[in-house]
């Protein structure tokens, strides 16, 4: 078992009100798995990702990474776990724009105190692995969105992490680039990399070997690739939401037309 989350609870404390975000979340991931966590915005998936990514701590619960307890550690040691065991891929790439692709990829190795020569070699190898061997000296501004994300994936992989964490990795990409990135993830997974991906898109989640749904802070395992019932539920909810929005708009219109002497209601 590479990742073992048990009974995670987390609430945000805004003023006097506690807003619950995660409720008794349990997630176990085996080595070599490809897991997608799917949920709409506000479902708590980002908070869960931050906790898995050792960037945040829950109010209660346990987290074992490679059999080691995470939450008992101090900040220094958490940073070390991020450096050695986790690779991050973000929606908006998070590349340093003044640095070349190679320097971006080599960044984690700088913090891992790898000697310069080895840094360059490993970064180059990582870029070649994602198919950007001919772009090492390019600045992020000279790369397409898909290429940028591949640089980010190379950076996430360069320190040989236990898990690759991807937060909406295709969120800022067109469908063609998205396809390429998903193929890359699949390829990496086939080579033995454990991948944990967060997405709101069922199309993207479909690439994963295993999908977990998260809704209002509650996680549920899906049997098979696509759970028809849940998909229907999600669709129904979406429709209800759309209907509600329509109703709101209509009532607003009515208000406006019904009181023409009055000034326009502020819609900004």
């Amino acid at each position: 078992m590479i990742l073992k989350l048990d009974h995670i609870n987390k609430a945000y404390h805004t003023g006097k009100l506690d807003v619950p975000v995660l409720h008794d979340v349990c997630l176990h991931v085996e080595k070599g798995e490809y897991v997608a966590i799917m949920g709409p915005s506000g479902s708590g998936k980002s908070t869960l990702m931050n906790i898995i990514g050792c960037l945040d701590r829950p109010d209660s619960g346990t987290y074992e990474l490679n059999g080691e307890d995470v939450f008992s550690r101090d900040d220094r040691s958490m940073a070390n776990i991020r450096l050695r065991n986790l690779g991050f891929v973000f929606q908006n790439f998070q590349l340093l724009n003044r640095q070349s692709a190679l320097e971006n990829v080599a960044l984690p190795l700088v913090y891992a105190k790898v000697p310069k020569k080895e840094r360059r070699e490993r970064a180059r190898a990582a870029l070649e692995r994602v198919g950007l061997g001919d772009r090492v000296t390019f600045l992020p501004g000279q790369l397409s969105g898909g290429q940028k994300q591949r640089v980010a994936i190379a950076r996430a992989m360069v320190n040989r992490p236990s898990i690759l964490l991807a937060d909406e990795p295709t969120g800022a990409l067109d469908s063609h680039s998205s396809l390429q990135i998903m193929e890359l993830f699949q390829q990496l997974n086939e080579e033995g990399v454990t991948v944990l991906m967060i997405t709101h898109s069922p199309d993207i989640a479909a690439y994963a070997g295993r999908v977990c749904d998260i809704f209002d802070g509650v996680i549920s395992e899906r049997n098979g690739t696509v759970n028809a019932a849940q998909e229907a539920e999600r669709k129904a909810e979406q429709e209800a939401e759309e209907a509600l929005a329509k109703m709101r708009k209509r009532s607003a219109d009515m208000l406006r037309h019904g009181s023409e002497e009055k000034e326009e209601p502020d819609e900004s």
């Binding site: 990514g53 940073a79 050695r84 998070q94 913090y111």
Partner: protein
């Protein structure tokens, strides 16, 4: 560390204008300190050189009374009880450990008589009766002819040596060597011409110097000391110049010589004239102390501009940290320790101010050179001060960069990544 410095240069290069303006405060502060320091050091060096003489180390031991140097102009002005300096006494002075050479000489500023060459003459000039040690002790160089020989002294030969000014004044375009001039009814044959070192400049410290400089402009005439009583008709006590082996020993050598000379004086009254050595080193020290105090005050003022510069650096570093929030978030997310982030921003601030310091030192030297060019105040480069200035600039960067760097290091990566 090297990586941080490289990053810092990259950061500075990507905001050239902003970085330069930020550095400007440091540049102005350091440049003003450096120009103050080098100008004052230059003045001090020049002062020492002028008063003490560079490498010459001669100190005058003059007959004085009541703190004033005595000048002898006729028989009645010869102080009582002061004998002519004997050869034994001169030998004793020359035997002093810190004395290289010593000379006893008579000097007369002649205003009431003239030096004639044919129909030409000069009035107002300095006559010197010198011993055989005079020229090399004082640092005169023979330009042509010869210096005085032992036989000139023993045979009371009426020979004369001129300085170049006198040669020009009296002889215009005739070669003076071998010519005969007349003074006080006595003929003197010109045997040599001497001059001070080429870099000699008259140093005017007081009104006496002014007069003697004025006199020198009409030239100096040297005769053997043995001839002195022949033209002036009486024995006259001499003044002495000793040359010390090192500058630091000048005062001591002068005082020892004065002590030996005074031992030969028969004291008669309270106002007895005695030999007093000039305390040139003491004078230099006093002057330098004065300059030092001025320097301190000026540096405090310049320090204020450094303080303003430091605040500017802190301000721009805070801006830089805010601008690079997502970069910091990313770096923390991929595992950078707090100390690494702290180090990065501290390095950037230190590189910025160190560059400012280096430019400031260069500008400071340029400024002091310009001051030297246009006002003649000498400038001297001080290596320890330059190194200190660069070091202090670096320190300013570390201090003013600390708060912003800590802000960066303590940033919450989740918050930081959320921002674009």
């Amino acid at each position: 560390m090297l990586e941080n410095i490289r990053l810092a240069f990259q950061g500075i290069a990507s905001h050239k204008m902003r970085s330069f303006l930020t550095m400007l405060g440091i540049i102005i502060g350091i440049a003003s300190i450096m120009s103050i320091v080098s100008t004052i050091k230059g003045t001090n060096d020049a002062l020492k050189e002028k008063l003490v003489g560079s490498g010459n180390n001669t100190v005058e031991v003059n007959l004085s009374s009541g703190g004033e140097q005595l000048s002898i102009y006729d028989a009645s002005s010869i102080p009582e009880g002061v004998p002519v300096v004997s050869d034994e006494i001169m030998q004793k002075i020359r035997d002093l450990d810190n004395v290289v050479s010593a000379t006893a000489y008579n000097k007369r500023f002649v205003m009431d008589n003239s030096m004639y060459y044919g129909d030409d003459s000069v009035t107002s000039f300095n006559m010197y009766g010198v011993d055989d040690q005079y020229f090399h002790t004082i640092g005169y160089k023979l330009k042509s002819g010869r210096t005085f020989l032992d036989s000139d002294y023993t045979k009371f030969r009426k020979v004369m040596i001129l300085d170049q000014t006198a040669a020009v004044k009296l002889f215009a375009d005739v070669n003076p060597l071998g010519k005969t001039v007349e003074y006080g009814g006595q003929p003197f044959t010109i045997v040599g011409i001497v001059s001070k070192d080429d870099d000699y400049e008259p140093d005017i410290q007081n009104v006496y110097d002014y007069y003697s400089n004025l006199d020198e402009s009409n030239g100096l005439f040297f005769i053997p000391k043995a001839d002195w009583p022949i033209i002036f008709n009486y024995d006259e006590p001499e003044n002495v110049i000793v040359k010390a082996d090192v500058t630091e020993e000048m005062t001591k050598a002068g005082q020892s010589a004065a002590k030996i000379l005074n031992s030969a004086i028969r004291s008669n009254s309270e106002n007895q004239a005695t030999y007093q050595a000039q305390d040139l080193l003491g004078m230099v020290k006093k002057q330098q102390q004065l300059a030092q105090n001025t320097k301190k005050q000026l540096i405090w003022i310049a320090g204020i501009s450094l303080l303003v510069g430091a605040i500017g650096v802190m301000n721009i570093m805070l801006v830089s940290v805010t601008e690079r929030t997502s970069e910091i978030g990313l770096k923390k997310a991929i595992g950078a320790q707090k100390s690494a982030i702290l180090g990065q921003f501290l390095t950037e601030a230190a590189v910025l101010t160190t560059m400012g310091g280096l430019i400031g030192v260069a500008v400071g030297f340029a400024l002091s050179y310009l001051i030297h060019r246009f006002s003649g105040i000498p400038a001297a480069i001080s290596v320890p001060w330059s190194a200190g200035a660069v070091l202090i600039s670096m320190l300013i960067g570390l201090i003013s960069g600390f708060l912003p760097a800590q802000k960066a290091a303590n940033m919450d990566p989740i918050e930081a990544l959320r921002r674009e």
